[in-house]
Amino acid sequence: MNRLDELRGPVPSRPHDARAIAALAANPGCARRALMDAAGVDKDRTARHLGFPAPFGQSQFAITRGNVFEALVKENGCAELLRLLRELLGLPVAQVGYQDVESVGSHLRHSHTRTLIDRAARENDDAAVFYDHPLFSLEIAGHTSYLEPDVVAFQLGGRFRIVEIKSFGVIDGQAEPEKVAAAARQAAVYVLALRTLLADLGHDPERVSHDVVLVCPENFANRPTATLVDVRKQLAVLKRQLARMTRVDRLLEGLPQGLTFDLAPDPDGVPTRSAEDLAGALSQVPARYAPDCLSTCDMCMFCRDEARGCGSTDLLGRQVRDQLGGVSLMTEALGLAEGTVEPAEGQEEVARLLRLADRLREECLN
């Protein structure tokens, strides 16, 4: 049996979702997350079973709102979207084709996407086409991951653009920066996946524009507005992170024999494995917890608890750790400050600073 399948256990693999991709760029050094994602482990279920559910519920109001807005933009074969693109890009397009890739069975969607994109790139005709619900793949850490982006790919004359529909509002030309940043990071993943696909098919990957189209509601109304977002920077970051990522096969090499994150579900799907045993298995693979995980990774509460248990300075975030000169244990940093720990070689400077900080606090507070 494939080692990754063994890690996951006898359940279907979970595809990478948007959150996994965001986490990828945010924390590429986390072996635990890399392995669990590569094996397609259901992290949300795992965290729940461990007694550390992630704090990411989605409100039915938000879901409804998102769906209503998306439906509005895609109505009548993306008629509204065409109008927006025409204005935004100055396209002389009167008509547009619409291909819903979801119309074929899920097992065929990836090859169907491939065929459609290949045909479009080859024919180069003037017809504009929207591809809804495409299924892309991307090599992540030496492992092929499938991405189901909630996006539309737009093609005109053999040139492609990623269109991302988000339901956060753009007020007087401004939106919440974090939300735009997250959308840009996600869109960059899809641009990269589409470029990889084109290169794979023997076409010029640069045919996919680095300017993605972000469609959001304008001001307080439901009317959509489109903006171009340049994702070159995000693309560069993503490529670098992907290249730097420890290859999954190397991570697998070091694993103890028989290690698995299987929840051992009974016929009704209820996990039978003890949470303690599962936690033991997970702790065999090191995590790199940072407070940012709290907004990106399903395993965050479990890893935070673990980081607390071992007194890691990671708990407080990178800024704090930088101030502590990269000292990784709290007891060590406190010891250096209070003079109970002798600085190791190379730690003299940070020890001096911490001792001074300690003296100053004492002086001012007493």
Binding site: Q60, F61, L315, L353, L360, E363, C364
Partner: protein, 489 residues
């Protein structure tokens, strides 16, 4: 973030309780602030769902939109909010003082100003959005609203704008005010949760801060402080209640939504007053009054602008307006940082850590030392200070001291922890220095290169003379019917 704060955070974790990072309070706290906790419908940009608001901890006013997607109900909410907020704000405009200005006309300034407390930064951002979505409305025309609605919008916009200003306390964000004074044992991201942050700062008796913070993360015990609601609550409680209202908009249905939202707001309401009490217990820094005076001045000018019938704030600043605003923010930031350091030895310690300030004991003084001959003879007392701080200042640097107002000195020499200073300002006009103007041997003194000198505002052209590089003179903003009728769906 400095090593001092990082160290305080480590201590907080070890001791299980938040640690002070200041010795005084650096924000103004009004005797009668107005707490405002807004909630927004999830997934919407600016759809108000509910708010708890008021100045009396025992009698909050709860405003609710039973169907948040209904435009009329939203405006009714805005009118309800105006009914609470406007009398509070306008009440401060009634008593004024006359300020004599050197070389200028005397002007009036309100004796006190309103203060609004919101739980977190997102709430402040929501205040801005609520202001933006209401300030252009009109009481006449095709979609009339209650006349108080556009007025409310202008005030909310003003308060949200002011909260960007470093050192302003007109709109205070509770989590930010708390983290300015206490270091907790959790990251900044987690500190944005008011309940968890207060758990560290003031845990219930017999409970450690860490335990209290963990408990506070449970949305069933401590609902989020908004504006976003707990998704579990949305799905299980609010959703069915709103649907019931839609099917039959009876008083009972409204009551059901109201009760549901009350459970989400009341815990935060109590936390807000606890936060206010904790902050109030801190002794006030010396320059807090000066900054509040600036706030009072700003408030007075805005109230006058409204009284004179000025137009609502434009959607966006023009080029000159934006540059002026930015320059103003930078000046306020610089001055606020310096003022805090002068008011608070623990904040000054951060500059001692980086070598921009030092404290020490005076070891020698020559109070009648002079420089120059004849008519240009000047009194320049010399002192030497012994310090253990790692000073990174150089000879010739001008330094000020938090110990004496108007005092300035120049560093003459630094050698082996002995610093020789020449006093240049603040010793009077006589042949000998004024009593107490020159530190005496044995006295403990602090000096720093930070100074809060007056900085003139940036030289910017009039808006009519905006250069073409910046789009040329902007079109004057005239409120239009389109603005007033803008959709709010």
């Amino acid at each position: 973030m400095s090593a001092l704060t990082a160290l305080a955070q480590l201590r907080a974790i070890r001791d299980g309780a938040a640690q002070r990072i200041t010795t005084v309070r650096h924000c103004h706290l009004a005797p009668r602030p107005m707490v405002f906790i807004p909630l927004r419908l999830a997934g919407e940009t600016a759809a108000p769902l509910a708010a708890m608001v008021g100045t009396d901890p025992d009698h909050p006013r709860l405003l609710v939109v039973p169907q948040p997607r209904n435009r009329d109900l939203r405006f009714a909410f805005a009118a309800g909010l105006a009914e609470v907020l406007l009398p509070y704000v306008e009440g401060f405009g009634k008593t004024t003082e006359t300020v004599e200005k050197k070389g200028g006309e005397p002007y009036e300034r309100c004796l006190d100003a309103p203060q609004i407390l919101v739980p977190n930064r997102s709430a402040a951002a929501f205040v801005a959005l609520l202001g933006r979505s209401t300030r252009f409305r009109r009481a006449d025309g095709p979609y009339p609203v209650h006349p108080s609605v556009p007025l409310l919008g202008r005030w909310l916009t003003y308060f949200a704008d002011r909260s960007q200003q470093p050192g302003s306390s007109l709109l205070l964000v509770a989590t930010e005010a708390l983290s300015m004074h206490w270091a907790t044992g959790q990251s900044g991201l987690e500190d944005a949760n008011l309940a968890a942050q207060l758990g560290w700062i003031a845990p219930p008796p017999g409970m450690s801060g860490r335990r209290a913070a963990e408990e506070a993360e449970d949305p069933l015990l401590w609902p989020p402080a908004g504006p976003t609601t707990d998704p579990g609550f949305d799905n299980e409680v609010l959703g069915p209640a709103v649907r019931a209202y839609e099917e039959a908009p009876t008083d009972r249905a409204v009551e059901r939504v109201t009760q549901a939202l009350r459970t989400q707001l009341e815990p935060t309401w109590r936390l807000m007053w606890r936060a206010a009490r904790l902050l109030r217990e801190l002794p006030e820094g010396r320059r807090v009054k000066d900054r509040w005076e600036t706030d009072r001045g700003s408030f007075t000018r805005f109230a006058e602008r409204i009284a004179e019938g000025g137009p609502p704030q434009a959607r966006r600043d023009g080029a000159v307006g934006a540059a002026a605003r930015l320059a103003g923010l930078e000046r306020a930031r610089a001055s606020y940082d310096v003022q805090r350091a002068y008011d608070d030895p623990l904040v000054m310690a951060e500059y001692r850590l980086t070598g921009e300030a030092f404290s020490g004991t005076v070891t020698g003084a020559d109070p009648e030392h002079t420089e120059g001959e004849g008519r240009s003879r000047k009194l320049r007392p010399l002192i030497t200070v012994r310090t253990e701080d790692p000073v990174r200042l150089t000879a010739g640097t001008t330094v000020g001291s938090p110990d004496r107002r108007g005092h300035a000195a120049e560093i003459v020499e630094i050698a082996d922890g002995e610093i020789t200073l020449k006093i240049t300002k603040g010793m009077g006009r006589g042949k000998t220095p004024a009593p107490g103007a020159v530190p005496e041997p044995g006295e403990r003194v602090s000096y720093t290169s930070l100074t809060d000198d007056f900085q003139s505002s940036a030289a910017l052209p009039d808006p009519e003379r905006t250069p073409w590089t910046h789009g040329g003179p902007p079109e004057e903003y005239v409120p239009s019917d389109d603005d007033a009728q803008e959709e709010w769906s």
